[in-house]
């Protein structure tokens, strides 16, 4: 059986299915006979004990192997599990209503959820999610269903889920995860980004796949074509095994040259950098030959916290990143929260269109306290390496000036306090709103560089919600309209002697590479795993060839034509090399 989905991350893998069910566990027995009540109470106690042991073990493991803030989640879960009121209420449902232990847990959980979900507070809503989590762990333990503790996966598997959250992927024992397949999500969802950074395939947007296949089913996941094959026949297995070994050989081959610079045959050097969420990601980037960091997504520092991270906490992280890079560039993007990213301690009012709402620089310009704390931390770290500051979600010159004013005020404060920082620190913006791309010539006078954020730029320019599987197909970075916007940005920056990078996923796709090179892109920033391939492509062409290809691509009418054209050109170039 072959399913077609969205190719979220390249690569092919074969392995057993490992289903993660976030949904309700089926409870067959609601009520029990009166002489079975004691048994149900015992089942409850055993279930609680088993869950308690699991949570303690998980906490210890995560503390040791990840970090303490993530381990706190399990501590919170344990407190809820051992809540005397909760346990008493469940016991009461069993003894007075003769409910089965599992059903009693369900009833009591529902009561608490009603209370918690009614409270207009993001923190409480998140605790509601914790209650659900604890309750489903307890229910599974009562029913004797094995728990999917992502941390304790002990053999190679392909993860099958409705959707994966950052905390799911953080807990995974990545050594054994061969690939991801999910019901929802597109090529720029969290799952896809995570898969690409791990260098494993992902096929997303498969509808109801998580309820259609069973644990242990044989799967082949093809992240190049966006296909999932369930219980393949002998022929399919043989075909794919051959392709997997070809791909592995190719990866090995590319790895050999990953540390070489990306220079075209006629001597044009471009920077190939990596995108990171935490300083430690730099190691992965450098292993793949990154020339620096083109995007440090600082929101992860905020998302891993219970309260706003302090100036010192942030400073430590920025400094660590700068030092790890040993003078290579580090572009730090200021807080990009809002849209689909929420902070439990920073309430954002319900919005009809969160992606068009209160997010990123719009929040920072209003909450100057948050903005200044971050800028102070970045500036202080700037003395320890080669740091660039980048503002996200800029729509025009006005916001650039306003943000720069805040930066100036912050610098002045530091000077007064005699705290050293890099006085010549360079400042740039993310170009992700079409109006910024169109007025790039005016903005270029105000900044030192641009970095094109293609994920949002495409979403805004093409009016496509990339998370909606119904329209995700219209999300086409090679749309001629997008290419023209990109060209406009690059040309404007060069006219003013500035540089343009790209930190959206487009920068790491091989079909776009030569066209972007030809348009004059100076820096490509991508997930670490994509770097060796992109560097290799840059080294196979001349700048002159790339410019011709870009010019021809700009003349084409549809995204499909551009895609076919650039694929053909890439194949021609590769063939000529052999």
């Amino acid at each position: 059986m072959i399913y077609n989905g969205i190719a979220g991350s390249e690569g092919i893998a074969a392995g057993k299915a490992y289903i993660i069910k976030n949904s309700q566990t089926e409870i067959d027995t609601i009520a029990v006979a009166s002489d079975a009540i004691e048994t149900e109470l015992d089942k409850l106690s055993e279930g609680i004990e088993l869950s308690r042991v699991q949570l303690i073990r998980l906490k210890e493991k995560v503390e040791k192997e990840l970090d303490e803030s993530k381990a706190q989640i399990f501590e919170a879960h344990r407190m809820m599990l051992e809540d005397p009121e909760f346990i008493e209420a469940v016991r009461d449902e069993i003894t007075t209503n003769s409910f089965s232990a599992a059903y009693a847990v369900k009833k009591v959980t529902e009561n608490y959820l009603t209370i918690f979900e009614q409270i207009e507070d993001d923190y409480m809503r998140e605790r509601a999610a914790d209650i659900k989590d604890v309750s489903s762990r307890l229910t599974r333990n009562i029913l004797g269903i094995s728990s999917w503790d992502l941390f304790s996966i002990g053999s190679p598997v392909i993860i099958v889920a409705h959707d994966l959250t950052p905390s799911d992927t953080a807990m995974m024992n990545k050594e054994y995860v061969l690939g991801f397949t999910t019901d929802v999500g597109g090529s720029t969802s969290h799952t896809a980004i995570m898969a690409r950074s791990l260098g494993i395939p992902a096929v997303l947007g498969l509808g109801h796949i998580s309820s259609e296949i069973k644990d242990g089913d044989d799967l082949i996941i093809d992240g190049i074509e966006g296909k999932l094959i369930v219980n393949p026949d002998k022929q399919q297995k043989e075909d794919y095994n051959r392709r997997i070994s070809e791909l592995q050989a190719r990866r090995k081959e590319l790895a050999k040259t990953a540390s070489l610079p990306a220079v075209t045959l006629d001597g044009k050097r471009v920077e190939i950098s990596c995108n990171i969420g935490m300083p430690d990601d730099i190691k992965h980037g450098e292993a793949n030959g990154a020339d620096g960091v083109g995007l440090f997504r600082t929101e992860f520092l905020y998302m891993n916290h219970h309260t706003l991270p302090t100036e010192d906490e942030q400073y430590e992280q920025y400094r660590k990143a700068a030092e790890l890079l040993q003078g290579k560039p580090l572009i730090v993007r200021t807080l990009d929260i809002g849209g689909d990213k929420k902070l439990p301690y920073l309430p954002i009012p319900e919005e009809l269109n969160p992606f068009l709402g209160w997010r990123a620089i719009r929040i920072c310009l209003e909450r100057r306290d948050i903005f200044k704390t971050q800028l102070r931390a970045i500036l202080r770290a700037s003395g320890h390496g080669n740091i660039f500051i980048m503002f996200p979600m800029i729509s025009g010159v006005g916001e650039v000036r306003e943000a720069k004013n805040v930066l100036e005020e912050t610098k002045e404060e530091l000077r007064k306090e005699q705290i050293p920082f890099d006085e010549s620190i360079r400042v740039g913006i993310m170009v992700e709103i079409p109006s910024a791309a169109m007025t790039a010539d005016a903005i270029a006078k105000e900044v030192d560089f641009f970095s094109i954020g293609t994920n949002d730029l495409c979403q805004y320019a093409l009016a496509v919600d990339r998370m909606n599987p119904k329209v995700a197909g219209l999300y086409q970075p090679l749309h001629p309209g997008i290419l023209r916007l990109i060209k406009n940005v690059i040309d404007a920056s060069h006219k003013h002697g500035k540089f343009t990078g790209m930190c959206g996923e487009m920068a790491g796709t091989e079909e776009a590479c030569i066209v972007l090179l030809g348009l004059g892109l100076d820096e490509f920033s991508m997930s670490a795993a994509a770097i060796p391939n992109i560097k290799n492509i840059v080294r196979t062409v001349t700048l002159k060839q790339a410019e011709e290809i870009a010019n021809q691509a700009l003349e084409l009418a549809t995204p499909e034509e551009v895609l076919e054209f650039s694929r053909n050109k890439l194949n021609e170039i590769r063939r000529d090399l052999l």
């Binding site: 407190m79 809820m80 809540d83 005397p84 009121e85 608490y112 918690f116 409270i119 923190y123 209650i131």
Partner: protein, 87 residues
């Protein structure tokens, strides 16, 4: 039985981390511990009940303790409240 009125002065109130710290401390004692806000009185050892009270900064709560270590329990919680729950 001892009763004490406490004004919550820390920024977050009995919420998030301070709530966990409060409940963990209360759970260390054998005595029965309750907190009351307005007409609602709940078990101070229940994180779910304490969170559901929604106690914000400036709220007055009444702490009641009954049991063999009631004095120690009240003293420990008072000290914690004065230290703003280590926020």
């Amino acid at each position: 039985m001892i009763s004490k009125v406490i004004t919550i002065t820390n920024q977050t109130g009995l919420h998030a981390r301070p709530a966990s710290v409060f409940v963990s401390t209360a759970s260390k004692f054998k005595s029965e511990l309750f907190i009351q806000k307005d007409a609602k009185k709940v078990n101070a050892k229940s994180i779910l009940a304490v969170l559901a009270l929604g106690i914000s900064k400036g709220t007055e709560i009444t702490l009641t303790a009954e049991g063999t270590d009631e004095e120690d329990a009240v003293a420990a919680i008072l000290a914690l409240a004065e230290a703003n729950f280590n926020e």
